[in-house]
Symmetry: C2
DNA sequence: TCCGCATGTGCAAGCGCTTACGACAATTCC
DNA sequence: GGAATTGTCGTAAGCGCTTGCACATGCGGA
C-alpha cells in the first residue's frame, strides 16, 4: 500500500493525499473525505521511514539507559515518554547493560535514526562519545556522565551530599560499623558514589569501621553482596546501598539470617524508587526526583533548542534524605 | 553527512560505500579501508530511514504492552529484546496504559514502521485490530487477547487453572473468607481472571464468603484496594491478587494495619515477578514463564515465518502455584 | 469584458540509501 | 594470442514520501 495507490483510488494526486494526511495546505472538504475514505478501504498505513526521509525532520527522541529493569531508569523513561507523548513526540529507548560498547552502538543507532534529541542516562562511558555527539549537532542531555558542551546539557546529582547526609544521620544514631553495597565499581559514576562513601568515612577516621561489597544491579545482586559482606566476618550495624534496587536484596538476605531491620542492622538505599515505600520495612533512602529529571530532559531537548544549544549548561540536583523504617538506633555493644 | 559525501571523499561510488558498509559484494581490501577511513573522518552515520526504505526489509520487531512499569510486561520485553539482540534484531516497545485507543495508535505506528513482526502483550482490546493486523500480513503474536488467524499466533495462559489451584490450596488451609483484588475489570482478559475467581468460588457455594475490589495496576493501587476492602467491614482471611505488582501494595496496607501475614491474612499474587521473592513475606504466587514467552514470541515472529504463517496456532501455558511465605493456615474462628 | 486574486490541485524534484546490471581490467585457458 | 573468465567497481533506477512551484479554476470589482 503506497500513497500512489491511495491517490489513484481517490482520483487525486499523491500530493493531495499527503496534504490530507498531514493537515497541511488547503484541501477541499469533499476531496479530503474521498482521500480518507480511500485510506480506510485500502488499510493504508503511511511508511514512516519514507516520511522522515522525505520530511527531513523528526519527532522522535532517543533515550539510552544502563539497566531498564532498574525502576530508577524506567521511571525517568516513563516520565520523559509521558511529556513527550503530550507534545506529540515519541521516544525510543535502548539499554546498555552497563557496557560501554553497547553504549557506543546505541548512540550510533540513535544518530542513525536521526532523533530530534538524545537523553543518555547511563553510568558507563566512552570518552570519544562526547566529541561524536557534540559534532552531531543534535541536542543531547547527559545524566551523571559526560560534561557540558555546545549542544550538551548535563544533569548531575550531588551524590556526595546525599551520601554525607545519610552517613551523618546514621552516625548520629550511634552506628560505628558501616558497609557499602554497590555494583560495577569500575564505572565512573558508580565509583564516584563509592568514593563519596569512602571520603565521608575518612572524616570519621578511627571512629568508624567500614567495608564495601559489589555485585550486580538487581535485588539478587544486593542479596549476594550482603551475603558476601556477612560471610567476611565483619558485622556492620548499617549497610548503605548504592541504590534501592539492590537494597531490596540486602534486606532480604538480612531477614533470611534472622537479623531484624532496623533492630540489628539499618539499611539505606538511594533513588527513592516507588517500591522502596512498599518494601518491608519501608526503605530509608535518598530521593532523586526522577519525574522532574524526565521533564527537564524533554524541555532541554525540545524546547530549549535555541536557548540551550549555545550554552554549556550543567544542572545540579540536591538529593534529600527520606527517613522511613529501615533505619534506627544502632544496637547496643 | 551522506553516502555520497563519503563516496566522494573516498574517491569511489556510492555503491561501493554501501557495499562495504553492508559487507555485501566483494570489495578490494584497499578500497574497503579507504571507505572506512572516510566514514570515520566524516563521522558518518548511515540514515536508517533511508536504509530501510531502500532496502525494503526490516530487522525491527515491535512490541506493545499495557503497562511497562509492571515488571510482568517489562520482563517479557527484556526477554524478547535479549534474544532479538542476539540475532541482530532490535525491538521497539510502546505502551498503552490499558487504553484501547492508545493500542490502536500503537499498532498503526508499528505498521508504519514496517516492523518485521509484532508482539501484542496487552489486556485491552479493539475488535477491529484482528482484522487490520491479519490484513497487514506481518507475523503477529498476541498474548491473552485476540484469536489465531492466518498470520496471528496466540499465546494463552490458563488463568482458571492457576486461580483454581490457588483457591483450592487456600481452602485446604482452612480459609473460608476470601477476597479478590484486581484492576480494570472492564477489560476482557482481566475480567476473565475475576470470572475465574468467581467461578471457582461458585463451586464452594455457601461454604465460602467472598468479595472483590478493583483499583489501578500498581502497588499503590493494590494498597488502595486493600484499604477499600477492609473498610467495607468484610474480614477476609485470604486475599488473592490479580498480579504480584498489586499484591505488594496489599501486603503493605495489611501490615500498616497491624495485621500479620500470613498469621491473620494470607495473600497471593500472580505472575511470579522477580521482586515477589524479595517482598516480605515472600509472595505465594502463580508462575508465568515470562522468559519463555519472550523467547517463543521471537521464534514465532522471526523463525517460524514460513511454518507459522499459515497455521492458526494457539499456544497454551499451564501456570504453576509457587508457595512461599505469604500464605498459611487460616486463623482460628 | 477583462484583470487580479484567492483557493485547490498536480508535477516533479528530491530525501539517502540499496541493488540489479553492465563496464572494464586483470587473469586464465586452450 | 585471442577468447572466456573472474574480480571490482560505477551507473542509474527505484524505495514511498514531502513540498516548492506552476497551473487551473471561480469570484468580485473596475
Amino acid at each position: 500500500m503506497t500513497l500512489e495507490e491511495v491517490a489513484r483510488r481517490a482520483g487525486v494526486s499523491t500530493a493531495t493525499v499527503s496534504r490530507v494526511l498531514n493537515n497541511a495546505g488547503v484541501v477541499k472538504e469533499s476531496t479530503r473525505r474521498k482521500v480518507l475514505e480511500a485510506c480506510r478501504e485500502l488499510r493504508y498505513h503511511p511508511n514512516l521511514h519514507a516520511r522522515s526521509l522525505a520530511g527531513g525532520k523528526s519527532r522522535t527522541l532517543g533515550m539510552i539507559v544502563s539497566n531498564i529493569q532498574n525502576p530508577f531508569f524506567l521511571d525517568i523513561f516513563c516520565s520523559l515518554e509521558s511529556v513527550a507523548f503530550q507534545h506529540n513526540y515519541e521516544v525510543v529507548v535502548e539499554h546498555t547493560d552497563y557496557r560501554p560498547t553497547r553504549l557506543v552502538a546505541a548512540v550510533r543507532s540513535m544518530l542513525g535514526r536521526r532523533v530530534a534529541g538524545l537523553a543518555v542516562i547511563v553510568s558507563e562511558m566512552e570518552p570519544s562519545l562526547i566529541e561524536e555527539l557534540s559534532a552531531s549537532n543534535i541536542p543531547v542531555v547527559f545524566y551523571d556522565v559526560g560534561h557540558p558542551a555546545r549542544n550538551i546539557t548535563n544533569i548531575k546529582v550531588r551524590y556526595e551530599k546525599g551520601m554525607q547526609r545519610t552517613v551523618e544521620y546514621l552516625y548520629s544514631l550511634g552506628h560505628r560499623r558501616m558497609a557499602f553495597v554497590g555494583h560495577h565499581a569500575g564505572l565512573d559514576p558508580l565509583h564516584e558514589r563509592l568514593r563519596a562513601f569512602l571520603d565521608t568515612m575518612g572524616r570519621y577516621c578511627g571512629e568508624v569501621r567500614y567495608t564495601t561489597a559489589v555485585s550486580s544491579d538487581s535485588p539478587a545482586g544486593g542479596r549476594q553482596a550482603a551475603h558476601q559482606l556477612l560471610a567476611s566476618g565483619f558485622e556492620p550495624t548499617a549497610i548503605l546501598c548504592v541504590n534501592d534496587f539492590m537494597a531490596l536484596g540486602v534486606i532480604r538476605e538480612l531477614r533470611e539470617r534472622g537479623l531484624s531491620i532496623p533492630g540489628d542492622v539499618s539499611v539505606t538505599g538511594f533513588d527513592n524508587i516507588g517500591i522502596s515505600e512498599f518494601s518491608c520495612p519501608a526503605l530509608t533512602t535518598v530521593n532523586i526526583p526522577r519525574r522532574r529529571i524526565g521533564e527537564m530532559a524533554f524541555e532541554i531537548l525540545v524546547q530549549g533548542q535555541s536557548s540551550a544549544m549555545n550554552s554549556e549548561r550543567e544542572i545540579l540536583i540536591d538529593p534529600e534524605l527520606v527517613v522511613r523504617e529501615s533505619t534506627g538506633p544502632a544496637p547496643e555493644g
